[in-house]
């Protein structure tokens, strides 16, 4: 899964830092070298990446909830196992990403606490509900499809640990995307009821998925810095267009209708979509999506109810270390 808001780099603060180091740093970026955890980096680069990677991690973890909603109701044992494995993969992505973020100097606990306190964002897409089984197919097809569009360029991100994490994540996402599409193919070859379920899911998810790429380029701020640092390689609108162009033929193959009557194909072959409702996007980011409160409540509940378990594990580890020290001293 994925977080948007890639284009929110911190203001470049190199003026305040060692100009020589900053120039060297930029030269390494320009030469497509990877920046590693122990290398010097501008404070704003560190801060931007910490935020981006941790938001990405939070998105993976919150993203487990809408799909997890169907694990206990998957329609066949094969689908149940595949969905459970998929949601487990998302958790794994969250773990690698927290680990990647930790290489920049913040602990997983701090980052998670910021999310639970509502101070850190996660992708807006997970604030929409999964109402039918077709939503599981649609999420795999479109949400993971959009994630792949966003994340493939991140495999070449200038920060080494993030880039490497993305390589593995992208492999798994691409598997998820095919799995989701295969659910859609099955539904669209099925009964009228199943086909209607697939169309209904596409109708509900299409616009929120387009919003995943973030605000239009005309209104984005700070994109330049992220681009200069080679954290971001394509603009929001470029990625969104690439996604739409790849997806329209897939919908046609399924016999489904994209819920955008104004969509047209231009001379260059690009599918031009209608105006996106950015008011909805802003409202969802502000906490007013259909499921924001439920998602946060579920994460806080898991965190709070698990506190005694984490405390027990820590207490046991401390006792064990103490015993080992005592034994060694004997």
């Amino acid at each position: 899964m994925y977080t948007q808001a890639l284009n929110t780099a911190e203001t470049d603060d190199r003026g305040l830092e060692d100009a020589g180091k900053a120039a060297q740093f930029q030269a390494r970026i320009d030469a497509e070298e990877r920046i590693e955890p122990n290398d010097w980096m501008p404070a704003a680069y560190r801060k931007t990446l910490t935020r981006q990677i941790s938001q990405h991690a939070h998105s993976e973890i919150v993203g487990m909830l809408p799909e997890g909603n169907w694990i206990t109701r998957a329609p066949t044992l094969r689908r149940k196992a595949a969905l459970l494995a998929k949601v487990q993969d998302e958790c794994g992505h969250g773990l690698y990403l927290y680990a990647a973020a930790e290489t920049l100097g913040s602990s997983r606990e701090e980052l998670v606490d910021a999310m639970l306190a509502g101070k850190a964002k996660y992708s807006s897409i997970f604030n929409y509900p999964t109402l039918t089984w077709a939503d599981i197919g649609t999420i795999g097809w479109l949400v993971d499809g959009a994630a792949i569009m966003n994340q493939i360029p991140l495999c070449r991100c200038s920060y080494g640990p993030y880039a490497r994490a993305m390589i593995r994540v992208c492999k798994e996402e691409s598997f998820h995307q095919r799995q989701g599409y295969e659910i859609m193919v099955t539904l669209c070859r099925g009964s009228d009821e199943q086909k209607a379920m697939a169309q209904d899911a596409l109708n509900r998810w299409w616009w929120p998925v387009l919003m995943m790429f973030g605000p239009p380029d005309a209104t984005s701020q700070h994109s330049d810095t992220s681009t200069k640092w080679k954290i971001k390689r394509f603009s929001n609108d470029e990625l969104r267009q690439k996604f739409v162009d790849a997806t329209v033929p897939q919908a046609q193959y399924l016999g489904l209708t994209i819920p955008d009557p104004g969509m047209t194909q231009d001379a260059a072959g690009h599918w031009r979509y209608s105006e996106i409702d950015w008011t909805e996007f802003k409202q969802v980011l502000a906490g007013n999506g259909p499921c924001n409160r439920d998602r946060m409540a579920a994460r806080r509940k898991a965190h709070d109810e698990g506190a005694w378990v984490r405390e027990a594990a820590a207490a046991y580890a401390a006792k064990r270390a103490q015993r080992q020290t005592a034994q060694a001293a004997e």
Binding site: K301, G306, K319
Partner: protein, 258 residues
């Protein structure tokens, strides 16, 4: 129009496979309920992993039951179109997750048994069951290690975790006896070398368990009254709710391909 229950011809071999399949599915389903809600991400991963192993075992056992029955049932019909009275799992595995201690105690009780059971079943004269046993034994060994390590951490962790772990042991103990009981049909399979007698494993099961519980500074109950009925379809109230969720799609949209 809801989908009706299927009928299953429960020959001793079919029933044998169904019982083990139901154990694995119901416990796998219970564990899958944790996914996204566990106390730490590592446990979301681990509990999902164990659930996946168990669902995998269930699928093989259902397929074998369907083949042994030789009618037109398959893994999904067996899982999704039998009602609570037709389910044959142990009462232990349908018990609710409760808190993390209850989930892990349930797992310890079951995995300590399953590990021994599948290892012994590797010598079954039935080649399919021996193959399923060989795979399941490897998985159960890991499940047992995971559960044992957690029970030791919880028992010897904080006062709260100790109390919760002890309460879970006390709560679930009465459901362990059923694992070792066989009926006449199963006894015939044991005589034929197809199944093994679980009663012969009880001593070793208790030793494994006692070692873990002792290291965890916990105790096993003295109470030896055991609940039974799951193998014959007499379940706790919990199973019906689990099945209504598990089966909701197949019951609502009968006969469709997913």
């Amino acid at each position: 129009m809801a989908a009706a229950n299927i009928q299953v011809s429960e020959t001793p071999l079919v029933l044998y496979a169904l019982r083990r399949a139901d154990d694995a599915l119901i416990l796998g389903h219970r564990l899958s309920e944790w996914c996204g809600h566990a106390p730490m991400l590592e446990e979301d991963m681990a509990l999902s992993n164990i659930a996946l192993d168990l669902i995998g075992q269930a699928r093989e056992l259902y397929s074998y039951a369907a083949k042994a029955e030789g009618r037109d049932n398959d893994e999904d019909k067996l899982a999704y179109l039998r009602d609570v009275r037709q389910y044959r799992n142990l009462l232990l595995v349908e018990q609710p997750n409760g808190d993390f201690a209850q989930t892990l105690v349930r797992q310890l009780f079951y995995s300590a048994f399953a590990d021994l059971y599948w290892r012994a079943m590797m010598t079954s004269r039935d080649a399919t069951l021996a193959a399923i046993a060989a795979k399941s034994e490897k998985e159960s060994a890991y499940h047992l290690r995971h559960a044992s390590e957690w029970i030791i951490r919880l028992g010897d962790g904080t006062d709260e975790s100790h109390a919760r772990a002890q309460a879970a042991i006390d709560q679930l103990w009465a459901f362990t006896g059923e694992m070792f009981v066989v009926d006449d049909g199963e006894r015939a399979l044991i005589h034929a070398g197809i199944a093994i007698d679980p009663g012969t494993l009880r001593g070793r099961w208790l030793t494994t368990l006692s070692d873990v519980v002792k290291e965890a500074t916990l105790t096993l109950p003295q109470n030896d009254w055991m609940q039974q009925g799951g193998r014959a379809g007499r379940h706790s109230e919990h199973l019906g709710h689990l099945l209504s969720e598990l089966q909701s799609m197949q019951r609502t949209f009968p006969g469709q391909t997913w």
